[in-house]
């Protein structure tokens, strides 16, 4: 039991890392990876949304969609769930940490359209995870997303101090770094 949970966590976080392996959630990955602090905040927000979304969508799939034969409603139902959760997170962060709220900016409401969140919900269903397993797969995926974000943010913070050729400043060097990181992550392939 514990072993299978660990496998789900590690496979979602590292082996099938959402950013580096499945290329999902690239928009916030590049948008909020300027500072380690904000990327940790973004990671925490996404972790909450993904874990909750995994649980709720899994329950909806079991209790409503399959029960009434409404599988074709999957996408719209899941997006409704995700949008609600993102709104909750946004209100919470605005109240608890205005600095983080400013740091995340437009990328906070954009978690709604972060394809990694909808992706994890749909992949849970496709992998036929139970509700419990879904939650851990969601947490794993979010941890992997946070890991990717923090790694890139760390690199970008250091790059800020470096003298770069003008053509590489900003996004170009970030994209190159992200590509090299993704290459490194492909080394985890086939562990499980």
């Amino acid at each position: 039991m514990i072993k299978s949970i660990l496998v789900i966590l590690a496979s979602a976080a590292i082996v099938n890392n959402f950013v580096f392996k499945q290329v999902l959630g690239i928009c916030p990955f590049l948008g909020v990876s300027n500072r380690v602090e904000t990327s940790l905040g973004m990671g925490a927000a996404v972790t909450f949304v993904m874990a909750m979304a995994s649980a709720v969508t899994s329950a909806i799939q079991e209790c409503i969609l399959i029960e009434f034969g409404l599988e074709y409603m999957q996408t719209i139902m899941f997006i409704l769930v995700i949008a609600t959760l993102v709104q909750l997170v946004e209100m919470f962060i605005k109240k608890s940490s205005p600095t983080l709220y400013k740091g995340l900016g437009v990328f906070l409401p954009l978690i709604t359209t972060n394809c990694a969140v909808l992706g994890v919900a749909l992949l849970n269903i496709r992998s036929e995870y139970t509700l419990f397993e879904s939650v851990f797969s969601g947490i794993g995926a979010a941890l992997g997303f946070t890991l990717a974000l923090v790694l890139l943010a760390g690199i970008r913070e250091r790059l800020d101090e470096c003298e770069l050729p003008k053509a590489f400043e900003g996004l170009p060097i970030a994209l190159i770094s992200a590509g090299i990181l993704a290459l490194a992550f492909s080394g985890f392939q086939g562990i499980f």
Binding site: I64, F68, T84, F92
Partner: protein, 260 residues
């Protein structure tokens, strides 16, 4: 079909109620003044006020941390508007605009060689310190023109940059773009300006430019308020002391100092 409508509708209702409750629990009191200030600001997010964008400046104004006249885009009109919102007095302030501290157009300044490379000042500046005889003078290839978003700076037909003060909002983009640091933020055209940036000794200036500052010190001796000083072979005006009498401009043997 019916199940679909009912299930989606009821889910939406449940989530809606949840969100309403949550928004009551997590409500944040926004400062209404901050929003009013933000509405009044031009929204260019140029950062000339020293804050990262209009909303940050609005927040700083609302909290009383920033002055109400920091937005150069809106100018004194906007300062009055914000003053009305915040209930604060506006101090009358001279408009600060970009000034190109060089008079060496191609009728008065000599070139050392013909430059046919990449047509930007920063590129020309690294080729043997530029093609101009004066290594401080305006190259006139328009790096400042390219960055100006307000159509306020142009290269005139004699090949140096000229600021149109009516359009200039004082955002300082040209100041940073100029590779030779010729552009400075100074009070407007009605004030006297030393239109030279050269720290060369007098003889060296005379060789390459007919209107450059030779550091003779005549202006310094004639200034009634000690506002103009020759520092490092170049006359510099302290606008806090300057009464704009125009004596320095009249006495300048090189016609370097402009007036009105």
């Amino acid at each position: 079909m019916t199940e679909a409508i009912i299930s989606l509708g009821s889910l939406g209702l449940i989530f809606g109620v949840l969100l309403t409750l949550a928004s009551m629990a997590f409500s944040v009191e926004a400062d209404p003044k901050e929003e009013m200030v933000l509405d009044a600001l031009p929204g260019a997010n140029c950062g000339a006020c020293g804050y990262p964008g209009c909303s940050a400046y609005a927040a700083a104004v609302a909290s009383g941390e920033a002055g109400i006249d920091k937005c150069p885009v809106g100018g004194p009109k906007l300062a009055a508007q914000i003053g009305a919102i915040m209930g604060r007095e506006v101090k009358d302030q001279a408009k600060v605009t970009a000034t190109v501290r060089c008079r060496g157009d191609n009728t008065v300044a000599k070139n050392r060689y013909d430059y046919e490379g990449i047509q930007t000042c920063s590129a020309a500046n690294v080729v043997a310190h530029g093609f101009k005889g004066c290594s401080y003078g305006c190259l006139g290839l328009g790096d400042c023109v390219d960055v100006c978003e307000f159509d306020a700076i142009h290269i005139n037909d004699k090949g140096i940059a000229i600021v149109n003060e009516e359009n200039c909002v004082g955002c300082r983009k040209c100041v940073t773009a100029c590779p030779r640091d010729i552009i400075h933020m100074d009070p407007g055209k009605e004030f006297v300006h030393v239109l030279c940036n050269s720290n060369e000794r007098g003889a060296g200036v005379r060789k390459v430019c007919a209107e450059g500052c030779i550091g003779c010190g005549i202006c310094e001796r004639n200034c009634p308020t000690d506002a103009i000083k020759v520092i490092d072979n170049l006359a510099v005006i302290d606008y806090d002391k300057c009464i704009n009498c125009g004596l320095c401009a009249k006495k300048c043997p090189m016609n370097t100092i402009s007036i009105g």
